[in-house]
């Protein structure tokens, strides 16, 4: 485990403050994953409020515990990709269609504008974009229950 050449702390406003190796301070950095879907744990940039990259984290799991926790907390505050656990009901098989779903973040509804808003991820994953631009994840279609799978299948 290699210590990073920067320091990170959270200020009273809840912002992350980065102190680089040369002593320069950057307030309000945000962690951004480079490959949020294919490799979430690798390649995380800390981006300053001006949009410039302030630091680069090669792998999340190589960070010291405290630092890693800060980054993960901040990621959790920013990332919103509810994972669909179950599809209760779809209003129609023609789009736009309103789905009642269960996610890892609670129950909600999503409006699907068109079948092309469903993107395939690898062999059995799906990323579904709703009418508000929120992305919903289906990690593995085969792990959904039969009824949900059947509903989903009509859109694939």
């Amino acid at each position: 485990m290699q210590a990073p050449d920067f320091q990170l702390k959270r200020d009273a406003f809840g912002r992350l403050v980065l102190t680089a190796a040369d002593g320069s301070v950057c307030e309000g950095v945000v962690p951004v994953r480079a490959f949020p879907i294919s490799a979430p744990g690798e390649g995380i940039a800390l981006v300053g409020p001006d949009g410039h990259e302030a630091a680069w984290i090669e792998r999340l799991d190589q960070l010291p515990q405290a630092l890693r926790q800060l980054v993960e907390e901040e990621l959790a505050r920013r990332e919103f990709v509810p994972e669909i656990r179950r599809i209760h009901e779809v209003s129609s098989f023609a789009t736009p269609s309103t789905w009642k779903i269960d996610t890892d973040r609670g129950e909600t509804t999503l409006i699907l504008w068109g079948e092309e808003d469903i993107r395939r991820l690898g062999k059995s994953g799906l990323l579904i974009e709703d009418s508000n631009g929120i992305h919903f994840l289906v990690r593995d279609i085969n792990r959904l229950d039969r009824a949900s799978r059947r509903l989903l299948d009509r859109f694939l």
């Binding site: 990332e79 129609s92 789009t95 609670g106 992305h135 694939l156």
Partner: protein, 767 residues
């Protein structure tokens, strides 16, 4: 403007029931609710209801799981912060030292949050200073916060948001297209009726042939030649009649079907043309092509062949049933016994088949998508030697097509033979029951033969009738996919009562405009007024929102927040075509349609005279090179203007813009894809074009904007600086840095594409 107090009462009654009591009870004597925001996420980003309410004294917050109400009384240094990321909005309350609270909500709640945010500042300011609330004299839509025109009751944004899916009984909706042809359809139906009836005659005649001619002969009586001739004549006559009528009805109905199909195609294309760029952004060319091309053809096929056959068959079954029952009810009952079975089977398979066909169609689109992707990009494919990879992609799509169709065929292949089997069994039953009845002298041999003749006919028809299931399903899915397009409401809709556009002066006001693409916020709080005849240069890094702003001005998209006005009228209240007629657009990649050079120049004004075309070409410095082409103005230019260089194409597109004599001109990187020499030519052409028009120009090469009255510097969706070149240079801000970076030939963030030409130009200057 409604008074603050009234406003409060309205707000309270509009509050969802779950919160109203709680809020109402907590209000002080002269306290009134101003605005509220229903949040749908908690701070851990789980779905959960909450409420943030603003009164004229304080901010209140409720959360579904927490019984306790939180509140913050107005005090100096309290401030709200409002931002969004990836579809989630955040509202932060702070004082001077720290963050007091945060609320999260999904982006749909954004307008309400924006309103809360705006009102918070006003109320806080008023409370602390003791002055009454100052509200801008404008009305906003209560739902989405869009600026409303004075006197406009319906919000143009909310009116268009339709989330209801199209009806699933899609095929019936084809009725709309059938209505113009109701008379030919009516006659077609009558003819079908008569010809089917005529076809019923021959089996009926087998009864007298059997009972009055053949059986008596077997029992020793001579054959009655006259009767035989009469009966055979009847057979022939019925056959010929059925043939003639069948011919006419098939012709009429096919004609109608063809017309309906073609109307459907045209209507879909027409509608497609009206849809906004947003729609095209989300669709793939191949898919749209497949829909309009093959789906409409499939529907046409269905209407002309299958519906016709099916209707004939249904009539035949009905008539046969009537005849059979009138001859012998018991035998008729036995004959028709398998029918319900078959109907049940059809029902069973129907559902599965439809899903299968829908999938097959979607896969078919996927195949055309690969084609539509690869063929235009063939240069890239070849340059990177990725032919195999594309073939692989095509093969993969094809393989899915195979599996899907295989699944359909598996059900389907079982279906047909089963129907045949049922038919055979049915015949067997009729034979058995018939022989039994003949043996008991209940019916004659003639009746039995007639029955057998009838049912062999309609059982064989049942087989083809069962096929109607699949063709109907296919046609229905085809219709659904077409209606998907037809039902799509343009996201830049024409207003119901468009404001007439009088003499256009060309004053463009951009008021507090925000735009979001998906969940990415591209523009925020852009305010800009362009005076008539003024030239504005838009400058900024790539991705700073320049093109988006221009797209909004052209109304290719509608703003998410705020408004754009032309001469004081919101562009959403104008008829789209009327508005765009006043805009001349010159793009980085000029698009030439297949046709002659003259056609391409006159694209925006097809009735232009030859003289006008030549004048426009002259002004665009295109005249001379056009004359050098083998057929001058009559030369054909290809799909993407092959055979012409980039600069030549660009000048044709400038001529195109000049010809319509627009009041507003938009130049989106008009010179960045050509070399310096050509650029000088184009620049001269542009100078002609810009004269006297309100112009908004985007350019990477800052030097090309030297004629601009003002330069507007955009950075990450906001305007950061405005002024002319000298002012901005003196300010040493963002523009200065951009300019310096270009002057030093260091590419900071600009796209490389602009660089080589720019370097050359500066070298030339240096010398």
């Amino acid at each position: 403007m409604i008074s603050a107090n009234n406003h409060g009462v309205d707000q309270l009654s509009a509050l969802p029931d779950a919160w109203r009591a709680e809020i109402e009870a907590g209000l002080g004597a002269d306290e009134s609710l101003q605005v509220w925001l229903e949040t749908d996420l908690d701070t851990g980003l789980r779905y959960s209801r909450g409420l943030v309410a603003l009164t004229n004294r304080r901010l209140l917050a409720l959360q579904a799981e927490e019984p306790k109400r939180r509140e913050w009384t107005f005090q100096p240094e309290l401030s709200l912060l409002h931002h969004d990321h990836a579809g989630v909005g955040t509202l932060e309350l702070r004082d001077a030292a720290s963050c007091l609270a945060t609320w999260r909500y999904t982006i749909g709640q954004n307008p309400a949050a924006q309103r809360l945010f705006d009102e918070f500042e006003r109320q806080l300011e008023s409370r602390l200073s003791g002055r009454p609330v100052e509200r801008p004299p404008e009305e906003r839509c209560p739902k989405c916060n869009t600026l409303l025109e004075p006197g406009q009751e319906e919000c143009p944004v909310c009116a268009r948001e339709i989330h209801a899916p199209p009806s699933t009984r899609t095929l019936l909706r084809l009725g709309r297209f059938a209505r113009p042809y109701r008379w030919p359809l009516f006659w077609g139906f009558i003819l079908t009726l008569i010809s089917t009836a005529a076809a019923m005659v021959p089996p009926y005649l087998t009864m007298p042939l059997m009972d009055d001619v053949l059986i008596p002969y077997q029992s020793g009586k001579p054959i009655d030649a006259g009767l035989v001739v009469l009966l055979l004549g009847g057979l022939l006559g019925a056959a010929v009649l059925a043939w003639g009528l069948g011919w006419v009805k098939t012709y009429i109905l096919s004609l109608v079907a063809e017309h309906i199909g073609s109307d459907l195609r045209t209507a879909t294309f027409e509608h497609l043309m009206r849809l906004s760029l947003e729609y095209y952004g989300g669709k793939r060319t191949g898919d749209l092509m497949a829909r309009i091309g093959s789906e409409s053809d499939r529907i046409c096929q269905f209407l002309s062949v299958h519906v016709l056959e099916f209707a004939t068959d249904m009539l035949m079954i009905a008539m046969t049933a009537v005849i059979l029952f009138s001859v012998d009810p018991w035998l008729a009952l036995v004959t028709l016994l398998p029918l319900p079975f078959i109907a049940w089977m059809i029902q069973l398979v129907r559902h599965r088949l439809r899903i299968g066909f829908e999938k097959a169609d979607r896969i078919w689109s996927e195949i055309s998508n690969v084609l539509a992707d690869t063929i235009p990009g063939i240069r890239v494919v070849k340059a990177f030697a990725q032919e195999n990879r594309e073939t692989q992609r095509f093969r993969a799509a094809n393989a899915i097509n195979l599996t899907v169709n295989d699944r359909v065929n598996r059900i389907w292949s079982l279906f047909s033979p089963t129907v045949t089997l049922l038919t055979e069994v049915g015949l067997l039953v009729v034979w058995a029951f018939g022989i039994w009845q003949v043996s008991r002298d209940q019916i004659t041999v003639g009746v039995l033969t007639a029955f057998l003749a009838y049912i062999t006919r309609f059982y064989t028809r049942l087989d083809s009738m069962s096929r109607i299931v699949s063709t109907t399903q296919r046609a229905a899915t085809g219709a659904k996919r077409l209606f998907d397009i037809l039902d799509h409401v343009s996201s830049v809709p024409d207003p119901a009562r468009p404001v007439r556009l009088g003499e256009v002066k060309g004053r463009i006001e951009i008021r507090d405009v925000g735009f979001r693409y998906g969940n990415r916020s591209v523009l925020r709080g852009v305010d800009l007024t362009v005076e008539p005849g003024e030239m504005i240069g838009l400058v900024g890094h790539s991705g700073s929102g320049k093109t988006t702003l221009v797209n909004l001005i052209c109304r290719f998209y509608d703003v998410t927040e705020g408004a754009i006005r032309l001469d004081g009228a919101d562009i959403r209240s104008l008829a789209v075509a009327d508005y765009r007629r006043n805009i001349g657009l010159v793009l980085q990649e000029p698009f030439l349609f297949f046709g002659t050079v003259a056609d391409n120049i006159a694209y925006g004004k097809p009735d232009a005279s030859r003289q006008q075309i030549i004048d426009a070409a002259r002004a665009a410095h295109a005249h001379e090179f056009i004359l050098r082409l083998p057929q001058g103005y009559d030369s054909l230019v290809g799909e993407r203007g092959q055979g012409l260089s980039g600069g030549e194409r660009q000048r044709i597109s400038i001529a195109r813009a000049l010809l319509i004599d627009p009041h507003m001109l938009i130049l989106d990187e008009a010179t960045s894809s050509v070399d310096t020499e050509t650029e000088t030519e184009i620049q001269k052409a542009l100078d002609n074009l810009v004269r006297g028009r309100t112009t908004i120009a985007i350019a990477h090469r800052l030097s090309t904007l030297r004629r601009a009255n003002r330069l507007v510097v955009l950075d990450r969706g906001r305007i950061v600086e405005t002024g002319n070149h000298d002012e901005l240079m003196a300010r040493e801000g963002a523009y200065y840095r951009l300019y310096e970076a270009q002057a030093r030939n260091i590419d900071v963030d600009l796209d490389e594409t602009a660089e080589p030409g720019w370097k050359m130009e500066h070298k030339a200057k240096d010398e």
